[in-house]
Symmetry: C2
Subunit: 146 residues, 2 copies
DNA sequence: GCTTAATTGCAAATTTATTGCAGAGAGGGT
DNA sequence: ACCCTCTCTGCAATAAATTTGCAATTAAGC
C-alpha cells in the first residue's frame, strides 16, 4: 500500500461532503500546499488569475475550503490570511517579527495542557486554536542585544 | 491621591508621544472602553458617525492607537477586530463558539511558561501574543452532550 | 451519453480602506 | 488671551476588497 497523497485526501474530503472536485478547487489547493506562509484572499486571487482562475471563484473556493475545515484564518498583523489546516499541514503557530516584518512558523505546540485546563474550568469544548506571537525573530533579537 | 482614570492615562500616552488629544480620539477611546468585545473598524466607523466623527477619521484614529499600542487586532472568525490593550483592558484571550457564533473573553492566561520556553529554544524575544480558541461555549457544549 | 444540480464567469453593486489637499484646531510660547 | 506652527480633520475622489444575480458551463450519477 502506498501512502495517500494530500491531493487524494483533498478529493476525498470534497467528495465526502457533497462538494464537487473542480479544476479551480484543485488549483487553489495546490497553490496553498506549495506555499510556506498564509495568504490574504485578495493576494491569492491575484496570483491565481495568472493560472486562469477567476478572482470571484477564489473567494468562493476559500469559503468552501473554510466550511470543510481544509483551511483556517491566521492573523497577519492587522489583516487575515489563510493556510492549510491539519492533516494537510502540521499544526503550528506563528511569530510576527516587529523588527523585519516577517512571519515565522513555530513548529511546536505545547498548549494542550493549558487548553484542557481552560475547558474544565469553563465547561467548554475546544476544537481548535490559533496563536500568534509578536516580538523579535532570532536574527532581530540578536541584533538588538548589541 | 486618587487613582488615575483610564482616560487620564490615555491623554498622557498621547501626549508622551507627541500626539494631540482631540475630541475624535477621545470618542473612539471611550467607545472602546465601554465596549465588551472587539470591533471591526468599519463597524466602529458606522457607530461613531452618529456621534459626529467622520468615518475617515476613525480609520486614522485606529492607526494612531495601533501605533501607540493602545489597541491591538483580534481574529474574529475570518475578519479582524480591535480592542483595548493593557493597561486599559486586562490581558485576556477569546473563545469563538461554533455553536452560537458568539465571542467570549477568557480571563486567564497561563501561557507565560510556554512562551518563555519558546523564546529559549528559538532565541526569540516575544513581546505580545494573541490566542483565539474555537469550539463550543459552556451553553452550547452542555446542549450537545444530550 | 443524458440529466440534474453544483459550480463558474461576467458585470454590477457594495463595502471597506486610502489619498490629497485645504481648512480647523491643539499646544506651546509670549 | 493671542499667535504661531504643526497636527489633525473633513471632504471628495479614488482605489481596493468582497458580494451578488443570473446565465452558461460542467462534474457526477445513472
Ligand atoms: Mn504557518
Ligand atoms: Mn476581548
Ligand atoms: Zn525579524
Ligand atoms: Zn455557544
Amino acid at each position: 500500500m502506498t501512502a495517500e497523497t494530500p491531493e487524494q485526501l483533498f478529493r476525498k474530503t470534497l467528495h465526502a461532503r457533497g462538494y464537487r472536485v473542480t479544476p479551480d478547487r484543485l488549483r487553489v489547493f495546490r497553490h496553498l500546499l506549495a506555499r510556506p506562509q498564509p495568504v490574504a484572499v485578495a493576494e491569492l486571487a491575484d496570483a491565481l488569475q495568472a493560472e486562469g482562475t477567476h478572482p470571484v471563484t477564489v473567494y468562493r473556493v476559500i469559503d468552501c475550503l473554510s466550511a470543510l475545515g481544509v483551511v483556517h484564518p491566521v492573523l497577519l498583523g492587522s489583516a487575515v490570511g489563510f493556510e492549510l489546516s491539519a492533516p494537510f499541514r502540521a499544526h503550528h503557530h506563528h511569530l510576527w517579527c516587529r523588527g523585519c516584518g516577517r512571519l515565522f512558523d513555530l513548529a511546536e505546540c505545547e498548549l494542550d495542557p493549558v487548553i484542557r485546563r481552560i475547558e474544565e474550568v469553563h465547561h467548554l469544548k475546544v476544537e481548535g486554536h490559533e496563536l500568534t506571537l509578536e516580538g523579535l525573530c532570532d536574527r532581530c533579537a540578536a541584533r538588538s542585544e548589541a
